[in-house]
Symmetry: C2
Subunit: 245 residues, 2 copies
């Protein structure tokens, strides 16, 4: 019982306020056991015993043992869908999906210790890697579905939507993983901003935040490039030119 209340205490401290305490207690108990014994060696019975609740309580919150490892993705997916649905026509679509991806980062950054522990656990357990891939895929589909609607008038709308959604997710995850590998040290937001900036430079409107798209529409940019220069370098030059003054 003392270990149960210790687990609950950790859970409440780790993720303040908004979720049911029993749910938090189950997450905390689960992670305590995963770290002590390993994921495969921990059963749902072990988790509910430590949390001091019944099996039925566990399955009320989590369909399976895997779900307790990723307790916040469903909420985050719902938040992302809501955020994208609230988009206005004047929102630049690529920037909007980048901002939507930042919701995922925020979830991880809310609780660095938990996120780093989970990252290490996930790397070791193939079943959790597979689960994580399916979650990532759902985020990517949410972004792609939004872009498909926004790009409906373009000849290659679905292609562009799928490619940009994948690029945004890959950039986000590259930055997120580098932050997790640093044990949650450093500025996660700045790392992700930089990564998403690369995607925006390739696909989006290369105008920095704060300056409305389309301002001074008659301005021209002249880029002179060698024919053999890699396109990404040319693009970087254009972006620099567009951002200047």
């Amino acid at each position: 019982m003392s270990s149960s209340s210790a687990a609950r205490g950790r859970g409440e401290k780790a993720r303040p306020g908004v979720r049911p305490p029993m749910r938090d207690a189950l997450v905390a108990a689960a992670f305590q056991l995963f770290l002590e014994r390993g994921y495969e060696q921990t059963t749902v019975d072990d988790i509910v015993a430590l949390a001091g609740v019944g099996r039925r309580s566990f399955f009320r919150y989590f369909p399976s043992k895997e779900d307790v490892v990723f307790p916040d993705h469903e909420r985050c997916l719902a938040d992302m869908t809501t955020y994208l649905a609230a988009s206005a026509d004047e929102d630049e679509p690529v920037r909007r999906v980048c901002d939507a991806a930042r919701l995922v980062l925020r979830m991880y950054a809310e609780n660095p210790t938990f996120s780093v522990q989970r990252y290490r656990l996930t790397k070791k357990v193939p079943g959790l890697r597979a689960y994580e891939l399916s979650v990532v895929w759902r985020y990517e589909r949410a972004l792609a579905e939004y872009l498909r609607v926004r790009f409906a008038g373009r000849p290659d709308g679905t292609l562009q939507a799928d490619v940009i959604a994948a690029a945004v997710v890959a950039a986000h995850n590259n930055a997120l993983r580098s932050w997790l590998r640093s044990d949650g040290q450093g500025d996660a937001s700045a790392t992700v901003d930089h990564a998403l900036g690369y995607v925006q430079s390739a696909f989006g409107v290369g105008v920095p935040a704060g300056r409305p798209v389309g301002e001074q529409p008659e301005d021209v940019v002249v880029v002179v490039s060698r024919r053999g220069a890699p396109l990404w370098r040319v693009v970087r030059e254009i972006e620099t030119a567009l951002d200047r003054d």
Copy 2:
């Protein structure tokens, strides 16, 4: 026994020559049963009974029932790794990963009927979707690892590698799925070429195949653009300019 030899006959017809006949017979028997009874309702015992072989033979070729659904991905992954490892320094990296992705398309296009059947099956069975995601992830990692080496000198090398690999895979899969949805009608190669062309226009060197990169290196291209134009449109203009004459 007659159904067994029918299955083997189908297998040999479907995938000529290079693989062991028993392996092909198992694939053919498995798909016959998956289509007749459904994937979940078919056991490994059912498959080996129809193919006329023992359980041990099945597991010699396939670690699990899921693996028999995707019998050629391991070979294709190995081919892709070999192809990327054989890359020369003068190969433009983005084009190289696009060409590597075409190996996957070729595998699907070798046998349209089988590929379309599997596509329909995979859409219906969540466990197969998860398996497919893990396979796609392995292709993406193979492309990203190659690009990480090629981009080792760039400040954002790993970021660019991960983003471009994801974009290539997304473009390939967008085209592949549209071909599969059309029941394998139409020109799969042309569809994938078009999709990969979009990725190359965003990230790669926009020089058409057959003209060496770096030819006439002193030639210049001048692009004039409105400041508010979307970057993808500017990129398309540059590409058009580079392709001209």
